[in-house]
């Protein structure tokens, strides 16, 4: 069984229109707000337009996702008007589009999608697996809408409170879920397999579980104003870049888990689902490598951005602060993994195990440091 990669291009007319649409959107932003934009904002709009255009040009699902996020966010902003109080009176805001509601929808949908993927896998039903995909897309859309609307809500609280919602643990957990899901959906289409969906969504469901506990038990969902150290442009790019890294590493670990289960099942000559329905081991291995490489590239960028920011805020590009040091540890760990695979040709179970262990190292850098070690990055305390 060979899996042929899906590198289907969309028809040229659609690709062209998509690019045009993105460029028009950027143009519209410039014509509306160009006068108040500073150089960073201009840069970010251009970067966003080009990235969205590139991602969407051959990916119909992504195009629909962006359209839905844009539409729903604009509706929510319209419904809010100038008053945060609308969140309690307007029907659509209360039940669907206020950031809290959207995030609850996201949470529910991700958990349901996980269940659907597993049922689809074990019942060998491609229809139910497709339902899983649809739910993942819906969850991701609601998560994105939640972030967008939360961004607006922060400005409605007060102009000086307003900030991009990537500033504390609650917000980055949403970001993590959404980014991991998008990465998965990209590879789901590329590799034409939904069998891995349940495994990847499992880590997202875990994040959702934490998110809900954090919101209900600790009241972390409230929008808090930024401490002075976080009032910087660097935050807007440092944090998302980091979470592409974290998301990719998490996905690699879950594929590693699926790899191990499948290879044991096939060793036993089992005729069960894990032996028969999962993709080829080489395919999973390839996917593991691709996600780790992607994560590593973005993690490198994020760490460098962090160093640039640190040089502006803390008086030095590197301070051996616990978070920085753990970022380095994560980086070294995956650097070693990549060398092992690319240069020493290691493959199979040891590398899958290593990817799984990598998740724990990453998790410690992401959460453990805040919980146990403190330091300069103590923005989200548990």
């Amino acid at each position: 069984m060979t899996t042929i990669l899906n590198k289907e291009s969309s028809p040229i007319a659609i690709r062209g229109s998509w690019w045009l649409l993105m460029m028009l959107a950027a143009g519209l932003l410039f014509s509306l707000y160009g006068q108040v934009f500073d150089v960073y904002e201009i840069g970010i709009v251009i970067f966003a337009a080009v990235s969205l255009a590139l991602l969407g040009q051959n990916w119909p699902g992504f195009r629909l996702h962006i359209a839905a996020v844009t539409g729903l966010s604009l509706i929510a902003i319209q419904l809010y008007g100038d008053s945060l109080a609308s969140a309690e009176s307007n029907f659509f805001l209360v039940y669907l589009l206020s950031s809290q509601s959207a995030i609850m929808w996201m949470s529910a949908l991700y958990v349901m999608a996980t269940v659907a993927y597993f049922i689809g896998l074990f019942a060998r039903s491609s229809f139910i697996e497709k339902v899983g995909s649809a739910m993942t897309w819906a969850a991701t859309t609601m998560g994105m809408v939640g972030l967008m609307v939360r961004w607006r809500e922060s400005y409605l609280i007060s102009h000086d409170v307003g900030h991009v919602p990537v500033s504390n643990l609650y917000e980055v957990f949403i970001l993590f879920s959404v980014i991991t899901a998008l990465l998965y959906l990209f590879y789901e289409r590329r590799f034409r397999t939904r069998a891995l969906g349940g495994f990847v969504l499992l880590v997202i469901s875990a994040a959702v579980g934490f998110l809900l506990w954090y919101a209900f038990d600790r009241g972390a969902a409230d929008i808090q104003p930024l401490v002075p150290a976080l009032q910087s442009y660097w935050m807007k790019i440092h944090v998302p870049a980091n979470f592409v890294g974290y998301g990719a590493f998490a996905m690699a670990a879950m594929i590693g888990t699926a790899y191990l289960l499948t290879s044991w099942a096939r060793d036993r000559q089992s005729q069960g689902v894990m032996a028969t329905m999962m993709p080829d081991l080489v395919v999973m291995e390839d996917l593991m490598y691709k996600t780790i490489a992607l994560g590593f590239a973005f993690f490198t960028v994020a760490t460098v951005l962090g160093a640039l920011w640190a040089a502006e805020a803390w008086g030095g590009y590197w301070s051996w602060d616990p978070k920085e040091t753990w970022a380095l540890i994560v980086w070294l760990n995956y650097a070693a993994w990549l060398h092992m695979r690319m240069m020493k040709g290691w493959h199979g179970r040891p590398m899958a195990w290593w990817a799984v262990i990598g998740l724990f190292v990453t998790l410690f850098a992401f959460l453990g440091v805040n919980m146990f070690l403190g330091g300069l990055h103590s923005y989200g305390e548990l």
Binding site: P225, F296, T300, G315, G316, W320, T325, I329, K344
Partner: protein
């Protein structure tokens, strides 16, 4: 770190073998992992803390062991630097070994390849077409070029060889990433404090451990202006200047001189509506003799001032020695005397002669406002501004100290205003609070007067006598002189006990000193007699014809509660803040990092390299065209150094396309 395996040769020299070992993949991967594990130490053990804290934490034995291992500053410990150096050496050797091949590989089209090699490649195909070899070559060449490949044709014995390549720059990815590591480490080394540590080890520098003014620090602990890296900090009070920074090192510090003078004109904290800090800003004036005029600017977090490679950051703030106008109200036997007014400054220590007691007053802190959770609200997020406060310690001649924090403006509790003073015996404890009731004039007079009367033996005696007589008058058995005496004495003792320790003390007396049989009856009687005494003493100087108001009864109750807890308060004096002149100090961090540009160049190389390495695979195709029976036979092969699975597809796509273009559409 190479694709190219160097076959081991027999009888290699030691140098050659060492070179190979240093450049080996195994060593490189080991070093990456060892470095990762070693880095953990410094995140688990808090770095660069005062040595005294470590001694307390680990005890003297382990303190010494850990200090020798350099664990208090792991990242500049010798062994850690050694690992880093080894990593740099290993990477360098690797680059030296591989760079020539890599660079060659970027351009060379491998035209030397033999037919045999093509046939054993993982990706190969063979087909025949009814075209002349020249025509075939032309077709294939066009096909490969259209796909973006660089193609070269060479004449071979067997026929014509087309060699094609795309993504040769992938090799740059290897070079960039590995050179980047070296560059970043070298840049980091330039900015490390290695030079200072070396000078200290040599004995040229001496770490200062005493608490001295910067100008008093001796020469052997000072670093003169130069181009070396450093990172230090200083607190400058508003309106004051400084031209040095302190570099913390081991259990002390060094003084780094600056080529300019900084003046803090003003320091500001702005707040959000919810009370959280919004910004920390300092108005700075920088005087540099080489400038036509001083630089005036405002710095804040994330917005440093950079002058001649010196970066000046807003990093903290503190009190800069605020002026405090204080009134000392006596709480002991001197109660009733007019309060003593005096001026003090935060961080000032002064001797206070209080009656016969010698106390040392240490003024430690001042806060212009205190935004704290409101204790009258259930939700801890509802905060309230409790106004200015100042903190101080009172130290007895034996050295024991209690710590206090007093609030300037009255705090409301159950609708009544109180002066609030917190006290604790050690920093590990929570503050306990004393609530002194505020009188109708908004001051301490009423409380102070009441306290004075309660402490005055004569007053108490007079009141006790009167109460005794009135009490006995209602009873039939009034002739016993002994009863009179004993009752009066009891009343007086109750008040004295109350002064000594409040209701607790009286309760304790009832529990321990009264015979058990009488306790149940006498206990409540004693307490009500005490209450009566307290009230009589309170109201004694008031117009007895006026009815007693609710407010006065409450004041009496509050005052009695406060007096009852004075022993626990532990201070013979209440310091009331009347006025203040807030002076802040801005905490600046000043750094010089000559290696920064180098590090940034390294980072750029690293990012470029990583993306090239992962996303620009090097791909090669070869086509050998042989003439055979009037037809042309094509041997087609390809290889890729990355993403083999993606290449499977590309290879299929290429051969199908080329077969079609050369007019052969049989698929194999």
């Amino acid at each position: 770190m190479s694709d190219v395996n160097v076959p081991p040769k027999p009888r290699q020299s030691f140098g050659r073998r060492l070179f190979l070992l240093l450049g080996s993949m195994d060593l490189a991967i080991t070093l990456l992992l060892v470095l990762a594990i070693a880095s953990v130490i410094g995140t688990v053990l808090q770095q660069n803390q005062p040595y005294a804290d470590y001694v307390i934490k680990f005890g003297p034995f382990w303190f010494d062991v850990f200090e020798t291992a350099g664990l208090y500053d792991v990242y500049s410990a010798l062994w850690f630097l050694l690992i880093l150096t080894l990593l740099v050496v290993s990477t360098t050797v690797c680059v030296i070994r591989n760079a020539p091949n890599m660079i060659k590989d970027m351009w060379q089209l491998r035209t030397q390849i033999r037919e045999k090699s093509l046939r054993v490649m993982h990706h190969n195909d063979q087909w025949s077409v009814a075209l002349t070899p020249d025509k075939t070559v032309e077709q294939l060449r066009a096909g490969l070029s259209d796909a973006g490949f660089r193609v070269r044709q060479t004449e071979k014995q067997e026929g014509q060889l087309l060699s094609a390549m795309k993504g040769g720059l992938n090799r740059l990815g290897y070079l960039f990433t590995h050179i980047a590591i070296i560059v970043i480490c070298v840049g980091g080394l330039l900015d490390s404090n290695l030079r200072i540590k070396f000078a200290e080890w040599q004995g040229d520098l001496k770490i200062e451990t005493r608490d001295l003014a910067s100008s008093d620090v001796p020469k052997e602990s000072r670093l003169t202006v130069g181009n070396q890296a450093f990172r230090g900090s200083i607190q400058i009070p508003e309106g004051r200047v400084a031209n040095v920074v302190f570099l913390p090192l081991k259990d002390g510090y060094l003084v780094q001189e600056l080529p300019f003078t900084l003046k803090v004109a003003d320091f500001r904290i702005e707040h959000y509506a919810t009370g959280q800090p919004k910004s920390f800003e300092t108005d700075l004036v920088l005087f540099d003799d080489t400038l036509p005029e001083p630089i005036k600017t405002t710095i804040s977090v994330n917005h440093p001032l950079i002058h001649k490679g010196y970066a000046i950051y807003q990093s903290s703030f503190a009190d800069g020695g605020s002026g405090l106008t204080l009134e000392a109200w006596p709480l002991d036997e001197r109660a009733g005397a007019a309060p003593e007014k005096f001026e003090g400054k935060v961080f000032e220590k002064r001797q206070m002669t209080w009656g016969e007691k010698e106390l040392r007053l240490e003024l430690n802190s001042f806060r212009p406002f205190n935004i704290n959770p409101d204790p009258t609200e259930d939700n801890p997020k509802n905060v309230r501004n409790f106004g200015p406060s100042f903190g101080f310690k009172l130290r007895s001649p034996t050295g024991e100290a209690r710590e206090y924090v007093n609030y300037m403006v009255p705090v409301m509790r159950e609708g009544r205003p109180f002066f609030l003073s917190g006290v604790r015996g050690s920093p590990a404890e929570e503050f306990g609070y004393l609530y002194l009731p505020v009188d109708r004039q908004g001051g301490m007079k009423a409380f102070n007067g009441y306290l004075q009367r309660l402490r005055d033996a004569e007053t108490v005696e007079v009141v006790a006598k009167q109460m005794m007589l009135e009490t006995l008058a209602q009873m039939s058995d009034t002739d016993s002189e002994r009863l009179q005496e004993s009752l009066q004495e009891t009343l007086q003792t109750l008040v004295t006990m109350f002064i000594r320790g409040g209701f607790t003390e009286v309760g304790h007396f009832i529990e321990t000193s009264l015979p058990e049989a009488q306790r149940e009856k006498l206990g409540p009687a004693y307490l009500s007699m005490l209450r009566e005494m307290l009230a009589r003493i309170y109201f004694m100087d008031q117009d007895q014809t006026q009815p007693v108001t609710e407010a006065e009864l409450l004041f009496l109750q509050d005052a009695a509660d406060a007096i009852g807890s004075l022993t626990r308060y532990g201070s013979p004096v209440y310091l009331s803040l009347k006025n203040y002149d807030h002076v802040q100090a801005s905490g600046l961090q000043i750094a010089k990092a000559p290696g920064k540009v180098t590090v940034y160049v390294g980072c750029t190389l690293l990012i470029l390299g990583v993306f090239i390495l992962f996303y620009l695979p090097q791909r090669r195709f070869w086509a050998l065209i042989k003439q055979k029976d009037g037809e042309s036979e094509i041997i087609f092969a390809g290889m890729s150094n990355r993403n083999p699975r993606d290449f499977d597809m590309l290879f299929d796509q290429m051969r199908t396309q080329l077969r079609q273009e050369t007019g052969n559409s049989d698929s194999q």
